[in-house]
């Protein structure tokens, strides 16, 4: 099968891979780049565990054809912290106990980051809207919402 060359930025680094036609971005990231932070939950856009940012916007990597991200910038949870320093969202998730099994957490954090990047002072309703595509089956939504609001507050305090 012919493979397609593909180049994009992955958490600030240029990467180049050859992909089979038709594979999705989730598989490309996990199996070709080796970034295991986006998770497979359903493969049909239902759960949000595979959420990544493409040029700053949150997308479901399981429904994104890998070939469509050529030349674009992808952010995943793997790039969220700054060296050894946790991102305010990560610190807030820890402090607010906003993870139980942890499987939805990468997607939740990326959806929350997309929100705070475009809206540093969201309302509670805006936070709920921003994570509405991400399912937490341990049903820890309240701590997650509180964590995002806490991160927004601490982010503003630092700025």
């Amino acid at each position: 099968m012919t493979k397609t060359p593909l180049q994009f930025r992955h958490n600030g680094r240029d990467v180049a891979v050859f992909v089979d036609g038709g594979i999705n971005l989730l598989v490309a990231l996990r199996e070709l780049i080796g970034d295991m932070t986006p998770k497979f939950g359903c493969g049909q856009g239902g759960c949000g565990a595979c959420s990544v940012l493409i040029d700053g916007e949150v997308h479901l990597s399981c429904l994104t054809l890998a070939e469509t991200v050529n030349g674009r910038s992808i952010e995943t949870l793997d790039g969220l912290k700054d060296g050894p320093n946790l991102h305010p969202l990560q610190r807030a998730f820890m402090e607010q106990f906003a993870a139980q099994c942890g499987y939805c957490t990468p997607g939740m954090l990326m959806a929350a980051k997309a929100l705070l990047d475009r809206n540093p002072s969201p309302t509670r309703a805006e936070v709920i809207e921003a994570i509405s595509g991400n399912i937490c089956r341990c049903t820890g939504y309240e701590p997650i919402i509180n964590a995002v609001l806490t991160a927004a507050t601490s982010g503003r305090a630092r700025a």
Binding site: D20, R30, E31, G34, M36, T37, K39, F40, G41, C42, G43, Q44, G46, C47, A49, T76, L77, D78, L80, K81, L86, Q90, F93, M94, F97, A99, C101, G102, Y103, C104, T105, P106, L109, I135, C136, R137, C138
Partner: protein, 531 residues
């Protein structure tokens, strides 16, 4: 008393274990928020193959022929696994504790008994090539009549779901087609009651829907063993089950797990490990077997549906004097853990209430539905739903406040439970009082003063005369020995010693098993104490 040399670690840890209210951090939280927690699927192994399973589209069908010729030649296919390739292709999960008969194949051979049942496993270089080969497998099905309703399954002439249990019920102690509870005389209780209320309750199956689907990766290790990364909730249970199915000593495997992307009871069934390991054994390569979301829903067990009939006799003053329960657990096509759910359910009757006459019959029934399994309080949860709905209806019937009605009937210390054990450390009254307070629900002063520690025992500690029922005929002992019981060969072949004539009620106890692992330690599963 074991002496612990705590002084060695005195500067590392104090003995203050008071953690409540302190907000102690989870040890895995940093991994979760940085995405470095390693789930089974986060292992990337050199040369890893992918296993996909062809599943039955029918709820009940005979398999006339399975033709894999064309699929074998499909590009990327490394191995096709059929039922005959599975060393011990019949298992039941609780056989590890000698409870129940092997009734479920890893890959169907002669029949399929529910929609989604595995038939053929395909190991290929990529998931896509496995799916392409799967489309080339030809299966000749002869559809058979199916039964989907628990009570229909018990009617004469109903299709036999699972040939191991021809009456469509799990068999307890080789005799009983259900679990019983008898305490006092419910018919006399109903005759004396001011009101009798009979209701029917029906639960649906409930899917755990973990965000991470069930799966595992098995790989040949460097020392002749196999390393298995798995999503299981029950690591050693899955390890032993795999050892039994693959007929190898359990030290053949090194299971690695513990980081589970949501389980809720749905990851105790060892759904993927045996085939993943078998694939690794047959190909010499790492093999990954991960359920898709649809497979998780169709093949991964749900919480079983239950149908519950409750008939209660209640006095005008609010005392419940008789409770009769008949319930059916829908086990689906195979046992998995439903037999145990029924034992738990009967142990929970009649709910946390002191009732002098209780009668319970609970059945574990086979139907052509997806086999059911554990889920958060299974066996008790649905029964509690029914019991508490019933309590509200009874309170309404006698014109009492539902909170006060519960307090009136609650167990108190010293009361006799229907299982003929004294109630101790009871606290339902206090729970209801606190719930009422939090909900700003008015209770009368005298009810607020009631306590679990007062007014129990006495006449409430009595065991009402219980009518005797004829003991059922004991069939030949058939509690199987499996190849997993690695006892000396002579004892494997011989049936266990005959049982002494059982005394007419109380119900006969199961015979003492021939020595084997586990059975004595896990006796609570059998509902009686052994040895």
């Amino acid at each position: 008393m074991l002496e612990l040399r705590k002084d060695i670690f005195a500067d590392e840890r104090d003995d203050n274990l008071k953690e409540i209210g302190k907000g102690t951090q989870r040890q895995d939280m940093l991994g979760h928020v940085t995405g470095t927690s390693t789930y089974f699927d986060d292992h990337k192994l050199q040369g890893m193959l992918h296993l996909k399973v062809l599943r039955s589209p029918h709820a009940h069908a005979r398999l006339r022929r399975i033709d894999t010729m064309e699929a074998e030649r499909s590009p990327g296919v490394r191995r096709i696994i059929r039922g005959a390739d599975v060393p011990v292709n019949l298992n039941t999960l609780l056989s590890l504790i000698n409870f129940g008969k092997d009734d479920e194949p890893s890959l169907a051979v002669d029949k399929v008994r529910y929609k989604g049942e595995p038939i053929v496993a395909i190991v290929a270089d990529s998931p896509r090539e496995a799916f392409e080969a799967m489309a080339k497998v030809r299966v000749d099905y002869e559809p058979l009549p199916a039964v989907f309703d628990v009570e229909d399954a018990l009617k004469p002439g109903a299709p036999v779901v699972n040939d191991v249990y021809p009456k469509n019920t799990f068999v307890y102690h080789d005799v009983y087609d259900h679990q019983k509870l008898r305490f006092g005389d419910v018919e006399r209780g109903f005759a004396e009651a001011d009101h009798v209320l009979e209701q029917r309750y029906q639960m649906s199956p409930i899917e755990h829907a973990p965000t991470e689907t069930n799966g595992s990766i098995a790989a040949p290790d460097t020392n002749g063993r196999y390393v298995v990364y798995t999503s299981t909730q029950a690591l050693f249970f899955s390890l032993d089950t795999s050892a039994k199915i693959l007929d190898v000593p359990s030290n053949t495997f090194h299971f690695i797990g513990g980081t589970v992307g949501g389980g809720f009871g749905g990851k105790v069934d060892t759904l993927t490990e045996p085939l993943a390991i078998l694939g690794a054994m047959l190909t010499g390569r790492p093999v990954r077997y991960q359920l898709g979301r649809e497979e998780e829903m169709q093949f991964g067990s749900p919480r079983g549906a239950e149908r519950i009939y409750i008939k209660d006799g209640v006095m005008r003053d609010g005392r419940i004097v008789a409770r009769k329960i008949r319930a059916y657990f829908d086990s689906g096509a195979y046992t998995r853990l439903s037999s145990y759910a029924v034992v738990k359910c009967v142990a929970h009757l009649p709910g946390p209430y002191t009732i002098p006459n209780v009668h319970g019959d609970v059945y574990c029934v086979f139907t052509n539905r997806t086999p059911a399994t554990a889920m958060r309080g299974f066996g008790v949860t649905a029964m509690d739903f029914a019991l508490e709905c019933q309590m509200d209806k009874l309170a309404h019937l006698v014109g009492m406040d539902p909170m006060e009605f519960r307090i009136l009937n609650a167990y108190r210390d010293g009361d006799m439970k229907a299982h003929r054990r004294e109630a101790k450390n009871t606290a339902l009254i206090e729970c209801v009082q606190v719930a009422a307070e939090k909900a700003k629900w008015p209770l009368r002063e005298e009810v607020k003063r009631m306590s679990s520690r007062k007014d129990g025992g006495g006449s409430r500690a009595a065991i009402s005369p219980t009518p005797l029922e004829p003991a059922p005929q004991r069939a030949a002992v058939s509690q199987q020995r499996t190849s997993y019981d690695r006892a000396p060969p002579a004892t494997i072949q011989q049936p266990s010693p005959p049982t002494p004539t059982p005394p007419a009620p109380p119900p006969p106890r199961p015979q003492a098993p021939s020595p084997s692992h586990g059975a004595a330690r896990f006796s609570s599963v059998f509902g009686t104490r052994r040895r």
